[in-house]
Symmetry: C2
Subunit: 452 residues, 2 copies
């Protein structure tokens, strides 16, 4: 029998998160205070995050210990499986070997639970009573709602309006876990009201929803804020994915030639890629590392690498990242988790350093790839993950053209069980690609702050 699953025992759940920061050839640009434009100190973030997470944000330690209580919860689904997509290989008639790390087996259905559990744990330790957050597609919101249920925290979720309307079942899932879910922009916050005053029919965006969630945390001493991507500590928590994958690729006796992840805020991509980039920096891997973003929200491939706000209402610090401008509202593509105007500073930085490259995929190509994958492998990917699938298939077809064996590893960051409305729309021919007129991007970039 051919091996399909590469499974590690519970004892091989990583004991530390691996922090790429100290190994990078150049340091990250520091985040700036939105008022003073001076580099932030830890205390500036204290209203939003427990100090333990703030310290992780700037840590120079190469390894950060995972608390035993967090590993104990990870043990329900970690180490996650690495699978070989042998039926897809046959369907593509490719000499490539296609592996995927499957994060959809977490009870939340995506990689997001890796950091949700960690953030809920540190907040519980710190005496936080409630967490507020935003969610796009709903993967992050449901992961945080679940983690809050585990630790007895209240959870308040601002869900981007377009996803809220498209995905009632995602909302229902958060409510099963006891979370309170509000469509964003909402009338509950000054930020939401300000947007609605100008755009009463706003479809919302992650940038807006972040403003609402941050505002609530900043105003309420017992509420802290939790972010599902972008920040260093969030990406750090995802590095269990890549650490496990390194061990699983060794089990398979292969070295990946290409490593692929979809990237919206950047966390699932970073989770898989950073440990391999660590190997590259040590000369122990030659892999190409590819971040795949949607053509409809092309922060890396068409944005600018500069300082910008993380949110639309400019309550957050400025960070140096690939961005389309904090007021950019992408069209309502169904890969809601990829509708963020910026990219994690750490991911932006490694792309800038040439340690990873960025490509974009159109929506219809992403769904076509997802359906092809599903028919071969059974798993229906989340629309976000379809971008990684599309690039993996493209690489496998290049390998066929060139007639060479190539080992491809991609992150299947979540399943699409709560995203079937987008598959219905795809099959009904209601989805389309989006080509930005050159002027539209230029206009958005013209509004960027001139800082740093």
């Amino acid at each position: 029998m051919e091996t399909i699953q590469y499974n590690l025992p519970q004892s091989r759940i990583p004991r530390t998160w691996s922090n790429i920061l100290p190994a990078l050839p150049a340091p990250l640009a520091p985040p700036l205070h939105p008022g003073t434009l001076k580099p932030l100190g830890p205390d500036d973030l204290a209203p939003l995050f427990p100090m333990s997470l703030i310290m992780q944000e700037v840590s120079a330690e190469p390894e950060i210990e995972i608390p035993e209580a967090v590993r104990q919860i990870y043990a329900q689904w970690r180490p996650s499986p690495m699978m070989r997509a042998r039926r897809l290989e046959k369907a593509l008639d490719t000499p490539a070997h296609i592996y995927y790390k499957y994060e959809g087996q977490s009870p939340a259905g995506s990689h997001k639970l890796n950091t949700a559990v960690a953030q809920a744990y540190y907040n519980k330790q710190d005496g936080t009573r409630r967490l507020s957050t935003e969610t796009g597609a709903g993967q992050w919101g449901s992961a945080l709602a679940m983690a809050c249920a585990f630790f007895g925290l209240e959870c308040k979720v601002y869900m981007v309006r377009v996803s809220y309307d498209q995905k009632p079942y995602r909302r229902a899932l958060m409510e099963v876990f006891g979370a309170s879910v509000t469509a964003s922009p909402s009338n509950e916050t000054d930020s939401g009201r300000a947007i609605l005053a100008v755009h009463p029919d706003s479809p919302g965006s992650l940038g807006i929803a972040i403003s609402e969630a941050v505002e609530v945390a900043a105003k309420d001493g017992q509420t802290k804020y939790a972010l599902g991507s972008v920040l260093n500590h969030v990406l750090l928590h995802q590095t269990v994915i890549g650490q496990e994958a390194i061990e699983q690729m060794a089990m398979a006796g292969e070295d990946p030639d290409v490593i692929i992840g979809c990237a919206g805020g950047g966390s699932n991509f970073a989770g898989l890629a950073m440990p391999f980039i660590g190997l590259k920096l040590k000369g122990r891997s030659q892999a190409r590392v590819i971040a795949v973003e949607p053509a409809a929200c092309p922060s890396m491939t068409r944005g600018r690498f500069t300082y910008d706000f993380g949110d639309t209402v400019h309550l957050t610090p400025l960070v140096k990242m690939h961005t389309l401008g904090s007021t950019f509202v992408p069209p309502g593509i169904h890969a809601g988790g990829l509708r963020y105007h910026g990219m994690a500073p750490l991911v932006s930085h490694v792309v800038d350093l040439g340690l990873a490259e960025a490509v974009s995929v159109q929506q219809l190509d992403a769904f076509a790839a997802g359906v092809e994958f599903a028919r071969a492998e059974g798993i229906v990917p989340a629309p976000e993950s379809n971008h990684a699938v599309a690039e993996a298939i493209r690489q496998a077809l290049f390998a066929r053209q060139e007639g060479i064996k190539r080992t491809i590893l991609f992150n299947l960051s979540g399943h699409g069980h709560f995203d079937m409305q987008s598959y219905i729309a795809y099959h009904a021919g209601m989805l389309e690609n989006y080509e930005y007129p050159a002027g539209e991007i230029a206009l958005a970039l013209a509004g960027l702050p001139s800082v740093g």
Copy 2:
């Protein structure tokens, strides 16, 4: 770290399905031809099933080899995990140890893929071009659609009307795999038209949908019929669950005192229970074995153990089973997979022999249990599986009352990702329990054929 997952390597996927029939103290009553009322011969079933499956239906072999091609596909998710629900134990403050075998990690999201892959394989071997089937909740239809995609077979699904309307995403999932899905009763078949003529607003039932699917297969030489439960060969294919669980319980160093599965047609219950009943018959287990049915469709707890038709239009053979009468249409409870008027003859038989017992659970208790489980363990169970969860929790609370440790093992047959509408209805207070007036059951039973 406490052990949560009990995982077996791919090499421990069972090599055979285990057939309880030859070990039972009394034989199953034979199925009868609907025309002659004489015991069926294998040829009578040949229009519907490939001979390989017909032979499994009546096999006297204690072990039946699993084809390597089927094991190769099983390898994507089998052996399935057995988990210890430690957070649920703590939430219930019970000395009981609660284990669950989790079948929701199959790409189809339930145990149904175990037999779907086997049936698609044997049909492919036999030259079948298309499979027709019925589905209630949609678990079976999506599993068969997926298996047909793997083997290049066409797939035609008659989906019970009430589920078709409640679960558009389940339908979308089947369509991703290329299946054709029709609401039942439909105008496509004589059976469907006959029902619609009398009940134009019929919510449908599994019995009606079976009639439609059987009719299509009987009339088309290239189409065969596939059933997701009830028949011996279907239950046989599910015995991988119990075989793995026996090995996993040994890993955990425990002997289950109580074994629980929900039962609609009986296949997930049988899959877990039959291998343990095999141990009981050898004196190697003392476990209580409990089949849990919905109070709204109480075939075992309030029906009669007698010969009845498997479908509403009386195209199928008569089988001896616990039944409420083949024209019984249960109220539209959301556990669509449990809305069958009968019970697998094999399950009925072991209950009749006293080797298993049957209990019923009301809908609201099932959902309350499912939400409690989800908040503790993260996994949102399918509404069907909630019945097993409810009984497991009840047993754990008995153990607390009695102050004794008890080892409980239940089958979490699938996740509820495609059933969130029923959780929305539950939270909105729109679901209710159903108490049958005594006369209503008696009336249904009065219509039973007097045979055998």
